[in-house]
Symmetry: D2
Subunit: 185 residues, 4 copies
């Protein structure tokens, strides 16, 4: 079982990257092979039908598509911008949906969100579900939402309260069991 993990933010010190890195480590601890990336590793222009028509799908998009295609499942930590999906993440998904077959079809995703606020990014995850499902990706109903995330990590990237480790472990056990079952289809 192979999991591709990334955050939907381009910021270097992104709380969502910290969260997905923590989740990737925990998933490895549970036996999963995890490929951890940053959205900023891929050179993805703003989507334009003109670029697609004149130059085809850009190499950075194809590279992300290959990493997505190689995995059975995804850990996606996504910030909430204006109660909705972050522009750069939606832009990347819009490009990915132009690759045929769509690399995330019939795969399984778990969504996470870290937020500096008390709400934790759940509205952003609601908005994110729609394009993922339309692209054929199955989504685990249980999200992992980390409110007030600025105070939750220690210097090594772990949580500074075991409570959050336990919650993340439980969510991942559920997710990986689903993925393992679905891999055998």
């Amino acid at each position: 079982m192979k999991v591709f993990a990334f955050a939907g933010s381009l910021r270097k010190g992104s709380l969502n990257h910290q969260l997905v890195a923590r989740a990737a480590a925990a998933a490895r601890g549970q036996g999963a092979e995890v490929d951890l990336a940053r959205l900023s590793d891929f050179d993805i222009p703003l989507y334009s039908g003109d670029i697609e028509e004149q130059q085809g799908i850009p190499p950075g998009v194809m590279a992300l598509g290959e990493r997505l295609a190689e995995a059975d499942a995804y850990l996606i930590a996504a910030p909430e911008y204006n109660y909705s999906i972050a522009g750069p993440l939606k832009n990347a998904l819009d490009w990915i949906s132009r690759i045929k077959p769509v690399p995330i079809t019939d795969k399984v995703a778990m969504l996470l969100s870290a937020s500096p606020s008390a709400v934790g990014g759940e509205r952003g995850l609601l908005a994110l579900r729609t394009p993922l499902m339309v692209m054929g990706c199955m989504i685990c109903p249980r999200c992992f939402v980390l409110p007030l995330a600025g105070d939750k990590f220690d210097a090594e990237g772990g949580f500074n309260d075991e409570k959050w480790d336990e919650r993340l472990e439980q969510a991942l056990i559920n997710f990986l069991a689903n993925v393992e079952a679905l891999c055998d289809r």
Copy 2:
């Protein structure tokens, strides 16, 4: 594998009931055990916290909850009212969410929608996904949407165009494979 199938409409001649009955027959043809019901079989009052506090969860809700709990998966055909989930279906789900453990948690659903219009009810299904996921139900990304449904059925409840039978068969093959895999978790 056991599938509970129902439509989210109270109307006797509901196009969505016709659709889910057709899907139930097709799923049986693929070897699934299907329990086909009507939402109107269950006496479900409008949700009120006062009813719940004074009388507990009503027997009609508990009866629906048991049928949901006995199944591994669901076929739900839902009409679209005002670009959103139909009131009676949302009301039933709100009651069901008060039963602990929530009977649909960790189950799998496939959503269908029949509509007299050319659009086919997809916006209603988008709105339906949210409460189902919050209640822990996994949703197959592929919906089955039947536009202009008033002209699609013959007198025996079959489709009058084989194209729709083939599409429904394909959607059910995908759904049942997912359910079978997830049953073994």
Copy 3:
């Protein structure tokens, strides 16, 4: 200018009714004529196309429709059930949408939500906007959300912290200015 105010909950001690009653009092203080009701004042069955066909639109729905039609604007305090619109409120709106002309078309609404949780019902308001807009109602972008509402009211139905009074006043000033302007169309 006439405002119709109600909460989307049937519970007698509803926090949302407390909130909308508080907002109604404040709007009166700003010079608006406010008609405050309870959804439970109206006898509204679960929507069924069969009822509509055989008996027409029920008297309880027509009564609510008249109150909505008489007003220029609405204060609607809505609970969040399963991250979405409450079943009884959606059911009432589905019935109201069957009255022609739809009584809320070209009117203006301000949405409020009280919630016992820290999040405050914003996801429910997001879901509520869709049917209201489809029915032609303009919605003020600023909602008034009251988290942890169980601790916010005093015995007379006022807020026990002036901060909330000030926020509500400000939101109402903005809302009523919009309504007044739009009344002159």
Copy 4:
């Protein structure tokens, strides 16, 4: 009254640009001053908190913000990508939301969508409403949706069927009356 009109697509031959140009012409015919732009006129990078921190809000974003701030109202024609808001449009809105005061707060928008498909982009407009409202923009409940848009325009950019001209005229009359009323607040 000043209206800023643009399409949420970067493609030169965008159907949504054709539609918003047609709407701009019709609005001018009704006496409005209309500033018609293309999203591609503004150099807007993918949003990153690092760019904002190190260089501030980019000049292209500020330029778009000024045009938005100068107007009382907006005509926004938006494509639907994966049942949701287009990435480049969401990205632009995310940047705009970082300008304080947010330039679209208390303004009024009418949403349009042209689509090559039979559905017409309504799901994309549902998703677009959320960030606009959160940013304080009031949205006219009536959208203008043009399905099968590839066949609807003549060589001069007009509709080749008067029916669509009449519908657009009616929608604009309603919109501009709302804007005019709200300008006097």
